[in-house]
């Protein structure tokens, strides 16, 4: 964000190409195979983060069918919205640009899942079992956490379920507990991607489901280990 505050050089060079920086950004989005942050994209394009952020938002809206003014002139959004509805660009595209797990990435639009699924078997993952889901939930909300603690909460041994979740890339080893030496687990950015959220802070609150049990964690920690 800092050293290229002017962004002038990069902008000038890219603006000369048909479609300008905006199209260059689209081109980069076509080849990434994992979410890329605005900072990474800005560095690659040699423009400021602010420029990239504006363009990303503009593309996101455009793909979703909101009419957006052409390139640099992203200002009049309020006005643009007025006469937008009936025009060509008002139909959403078949894909969308989303900010997930700390980065931007192109996805096919959920509406077309059935059709797309016929072509893309890859990456389609089997559904998680109930046991895996519950284990996943405990780890997501208590991370970093040992298998022993997850077991204590679920009341059953979770070893094999944890192994499956690791293989699926949804959780990972995050070091060992200094006291017990037990391996601690946390969720991965792939988990965030699969959930469509930016960070674990965006997970739904647990507290509404836990009436009057605010102190329960400490209670169990003391009791269990």
């Amino acid at each position: 964000m800092s050293e290229q505050e002017t962004g002038g050089d990069g902008l000038a060079a890219l603006e000369a190409l048909p479609g300008g920086v905006r199209a260059a950004l689209e081109a980069v989005l076509m080849v990434i195979d994992q979410p890329a942050s605005a900072e990474e994209l800005a560095a690659g394009l040699n423009v400021t983060v602010a420029v990239v952020e504006d363009l990303l938002e503009e593309l996101r809206q455009e793909y979703s069918g909101y009419t957006v003014k052409a390139p640099g002139t992203d200002v009049d959004d309020s006005q643009g919205d007025m006469d937008t509805d009936a025009r060509t660009s008002a139909a959403p595209r078949g894909f969308e640009l989303r900010n997930v797990a700390g980065g931007w990435r192109i996805y096919s639009r959920a509406d077309f899942a059935d059709v797309v699924g016929r072509f893309v078997l890859e990456g389609q993952t089997a559904r998680l079992t109930q046991a895996a889901l519950e284990t996943m939930a405990v780890i997501a909300y208590r991370q970093p956490v040992s298998r022993a603690r997850v077991s204590a909460i679920r009341g059953v041994n979770v070893d094999s379920v944890v192994r499956t979740l690791v293989q699926r890339g949804l959780i990972e080893d995050s070091g060992t507990d200094p006291e017990s030496g037990a391996i601690l687990y946390r969720t991965t950015s792939y988990f965030l991607e699969r959930m469509g959220i930016g960070s674990v802070a965006e997970l739904p609150q647990l507290s509404p489901h836990l009436p009057g049990l605010e102190g329960i964690e400490e209670f169990f920690d003391a009791e269990r280990m």
Partner: protein, 277 residues
């Protein structure tokens, strides 16, 4: 019901993923509030269910079954308490029972909360799975720009790496911490001598004090075993005012007539020929 049951305990449980799940299932079947003391009414069914699992299972996985048994035992306690005439909370046993109940409720409520958020996560994962990320192979003209790969492995080195990678990993590395058991020999006799010396040459001591300098859990365990041995040899006595209260150990043997050589040496014998304990 009697389908081939191979994959483990959870399969046998059919729709339940654990004891709390079963308990919640029974509670909702009876349309009861979790916090209702009448939890005791589901006890019979819970026990019945476990018994059925036991009958079904060829090899009843102790590890996983134990949680069911703990909960069943707690439920039985609660039921027993309900059958007795209601009265004032009087002794430690009543309090322990109340604590057990609260603990069970707390764990059950906690589990219920996680079950609920698991359902939310499941819904999110499912709706998100309708979007497919673009993740395509790099276009040839871009891939051509990648720097030439540095590859220095000889076939032999590569094979060694493959062998290491393909070697079966221990499925539960977390529980395998046995190295230190074999690494540090700790003898019951030795520890008995240490304890015996301290007790003969000092005041009665608490167990806590006797293990204060133990450098590992193993030493704590072995000192405890040593105390049991000493107790059997009638040279020490224990004082404990109540369950889980401080345990005080005093020397009751004759002042000098004891040595660890006279100790019944069951431990040392049973471990002869093996790694030191």
């Amino acid at each position: 019901m009697a389908e081939p049951l191979k994959a483990g305990f959870e399969v046998r449980l059919a729709n339940f993923t654990g004891p709390f799940d079963l308990l919640l299932g029974l509670i909702s079947k009876h349309k009861m509030d979790i916090t209702d003391v009448a939890l005791a009414t589901v006890t019979d069914e819970f026990i019945k269910y476990i018994r059925r699992l036991q009958e079904l299972g060829e090899e009843w996985a102790l590890d996983e079954a134990s949680e069911f048994l703990v909960i069943a035992a707690t439920l039985l306690d609660l039921k027993a308490a309900r059958l007795l005439p209601a009265g004032e909370v009087e002794d430690a046993e009543d309090i322990a029972l109340l604590e057990a109940r609260d603990l069970l409720f707390a764990r059950l409520l906690q589990y219920k909360a996680f079950k609920q958020v698991a359902a939310i996560l499941s819904g999110t994962l499912e709706s998100e799975a309708r979007r497919f990320p673009r993740q395509v192979a790099l276009e040839a003209h871009i891939a051509a720009m990648l720097p030439e790969l540095v590859w220095r492995h000889t076939p032999e080195q590569f094979a060694a790496l493959a062998a290491k990678t393909l070697a079966p990993k221990d499925s539960t590395p977390e529980e395998v911490g046995l190295d230190h058991l074999h690494g540090t020999p700790v003898s019951v006799k030795e520890q008995a001598e240490i304890i015996g010396y301290r007790l003969q040459h000092g005041q009665p001591q608490s167990f806590r004090a006797l293990i204060a300098d133990a450098e590992s859990t193993l030493v704590v365990v072995v000192r405890f075993l040593a105390l049991l041995e000493l107790f059997r040899d009638r040279v020490v006595a224990f004082d404990q005012p109540g369950p889980l209260a401080e345990l005080t150990v005093r020397w009751t043997g004759r002042p000098e007539g004891w040595s660890s050589d006279n100790m019944s040496d069951e431990y040392e014998q049973s471990h002869q020929g093996e790694e030191p304990l």
